[in-house]
Symmetry: C2
Subunit: 455 residues, 2 copies
């Protein structure tokens, strides 16, 4: 029996138990964006630390940060001559609203048609948990590995990873590795696996306009006070030109067009018609005249993630609100510096808001884009394992989303990076009814376990 078969057999024997444990892990409301969930965050971290201690040979602990604790584990029995792989994932999840659109509660995992519905079912509690289970199976099936493995499961990926970032130089020795495996990505399409060779960076900002001391009656004050909702729509509308290019001065200054070589390596699964049908998207965004792959992989974007001002309950409230707030984020491509982009964005907004309107900013920080090489020993092992598991050639892709810490982590450790995962764009991550198939959970487990063996 070859080793992939042994991993499959192990999974079949343990699948009921693994699923129960997966559900336990999903029940923690580990939302990092909101401080009221701090207790759930810690309980979630402790649960997986204890799981690793119980079922693997890895030493495991919590590393405290200025933010949420990091779960760290390692098995260095392969010795200093062997290569070291750092597996990265996160246990924090996105907020859950609009809650009313969930068919089952986000923290009560529910199985429907072979799919697990829960916040974090995929991103990233589902994916990192199959990595944890793979370490357990390898321990039970093989014992000491020929490669050193470290596991870093952080708690602030969805909130810009500031805790890990601030501790990074201190943790350099602890996290030291030759290559980083980021288990937070997708497959190519429903039947084809992929390795991910990069993701975009991110910068997030909140802007608040204040027009008066207090909410005002829209009749008594209509024609007198400038409405901050109006000021906000007028201001934000200036961010895009008619061709979809972002109008912030210098926004594209540091963008380097992707090389022909890279473009050729990278596959893109979507074409406009099927994309629009799958997601019910009537209008396409991005820059006019560019392909979907270009706009999603190689070009920076700017989105209004939230806008809120005045009354949006039932019926009518004739108010000129005191404030309007918008949450804005940009996806960045390699060579763009989040701090510089944030500064340019702030300058643009300040200089284009109507005179007299108060404007204030709250920064959520950011992170640069990262790129990895398809030639690294780890990328090759993951691709080979994925091909064995899926019976299909593994595609190379980029990711339009961001894993904020990875560029900094790779730079600090001087390590190569590759991403793996079994997500699909239809899994509703960051949205109501997030879900993940148990069959893809198994493929993730097999791919990761088999790749570690191959090393």
């Amino acid at each position: 029996m070859n080793s992939l078969c042994r991993l499959k057999e192990w999974f079949n024997l343990h699948c009921t138990q693994v699923q129960e444990e997966y559900f336990q892990w999903l029940r923690f409301a580990s939302i990092s964006a909101d401080v009221q969930y701090a207790k759930d965050m810690r309980a979630c971290a402790l649960w997986v630390r204890d799981y690793l201690a119980k079922y693997t040979q890895m030493t495991s602990c919590l590393i405290e940060t200025t933010g949420q604790p990091i779960v760290f584990a390692e098995d260095l029995r392969a010795g200093p001559a062997a290569p070291t792989v750092l597996i990265y994932g996160h246990y924090d999840v996105q907020p859950v609203d609009p809650l009313e659109l969930w068919t089952s509660p986000p923290f009560e995992p529910t199985m429907r048609d072979g799919k697990v519905y829960a916040r974090g079912a995929l991103d990233d509690k589902g994916q990192i948990f199959y990595a944890v289970v793979a370490m357990r199976a390898l321990h039970e099936l093989i014992g000491p590995l020929s490669v050193n493995v470290k596991l870093c499961i952080e708690g602030e990926e969805e909130s810009a990873s500031q805790g890990l970032e601030m501790a990074l130089s201190q943790l350099k020795g602890t996290l030291q590795a030759d290559a980083i495996l980021v288990v937070d990505f997708g497959q190519f399409d429903e039947v084809t696996p992929a390795i991910t060779l990069g993701a975009r960076g991110l910068v997030a900002l909140e802007v608040t306009l204040t027009g008066s001391n207090s909410d005002l009656h829209s009749g008594e004050h209509g024609g007198l006070a400038y409405n901050p909702n109006r000021a906000m729509v007028e201001l934000l509308a200036k961010l895009w030109g008619s061709q979809g290019y972002i109008q912030v001065d210098g926004f594209y200054d540091d963008v380097v067009e992707a090389s022909a070589d890279l473009r050729q390596q990278i596959d893109f699964a979507l074409e406009p018609k099927s994309y629009q049908k799958t997601f019910g998207v009537g209008a396409l965004g991005g820059e006019r005249g560019r392909t979907m792959a270009e706009n999603n992989f190689f070009r920076p974007t700017l989105e209004i993630n939230g806008i809120g001002g005045g009354y949006f309950g039932a019926g009518v409230k004739t108010v000129i609100p005191a404030h309007c707030t918008a949450k804005i984020s940009c996806r960045l491509v390699p060579n763009q510096d989040p701090k510089k982009i944030e500064q340019k964005l702030i300058e643009f907004l300040k200089s284009h808001v109507v005179a007299g309107m108060q404007i204030a900013f709250h920064s959520f920080g950011g992170a640069p884009a990262f790129r990895g090489s398809s030639d690294s020993f780890l990328a090759k092992a993951i691709a080979k394992a994925a091909e064995e598991v899926n019976g299909r050639a593994c595609k190379k892709v980029l990711c339009g989303a961001s894993i904020p810490i990875i560029a900094k982590l790779a730079k600090e450790l001087e390590a190569d990076v590759v991403g793996m995962g079994y997500g699909l764009a239809t899994d509703n991550i960051h949205a109501p009814n997030e879900h993940f198939d148990m069959s893809r959970f198994e493929k993730g487990f097999l791919t990761l376990g088999r790749a570690i063996e191959l090393l």
Copy 2:
């Protein structure tokens, strides 16, 4: 002892009891915009019906409508030869959010520095209650009056008065009067009384943009899907030109510039500097090149009362939301038809939204502006009584706000209209910490009581 002194004496004797009853009346959460308050609405209406039955000679009842019930009362003992006055007010109030900005809970009336803080303290439960108390005092002091008095306290003024409007032709006989006294307005400034000779009309509309079937991840979909928040800010920003004029085709078609005679009659208390200081307003709205009085009394306006799309909780959620919604309302001047304006607004929004974005509308209806004459018997009596009570000449004003039903009511009854009241622009109506002074409550009571006597 003259009659004003007798009214003052009555108020002094009863002021503790009246204040207790006023607080009881304010405790009903009579929010008409939200169906969950339907029970509170009815309890509120029944309370004042019973108050009128207990303390006055008026026959009182509830009139059912398709919406909230109307409290109606009448005392016709003056006989058919005597004139009939219809006193109009409303027992419904505006929603209370943002709740966290209230110093004391909106439905627990609290006295601070002689001011009563509660939702509805002024608008309009405070004002209509002093009218009710005046009817009680007149009954106890005088007995049968020389004028017929009807009282119509409706429950949907803050929600476009659709129930009363639909019942209007049926209720024509019941409500029939020679003049309508609208007790829902303000004084001129802190020491000067006013009668109100007109108010603007209103039309309110909700617009929702839908960009996809579900919320999307702003990284996975950034550059692919057109964000409805972006589509909304781009769309709404087109509503105003650089000079503050509304760009909807035909919006100003039916506007008739106010006559020189009317402009001369009407006083306006505010000038830009004091206005901006009082309300902390940094930027002025309205049409450039026009005075504040013109913009607030004689020109139509358009406001975004609410805009909401995506995530606006704590922290960051990198989402492209499925929907963005805005609540829009216009204040209208005489001769503008709310239905026509709504249609033009819908056409504008439909034709200017980005292609492919789904757009849907929800209409909240509307009402035209109204104007009354300063020469009517009722206007003269109110002005004279206000002068006696305040020891100052009574100013004539217009109101930038709206009482949706009044134009239709006046037309149906072929009655003249005049407005009275003791509100100030700093009373925070429609906003957190709405309040009203007991001293102004008393002035309202005295003015209304004295005016009825004068008739």
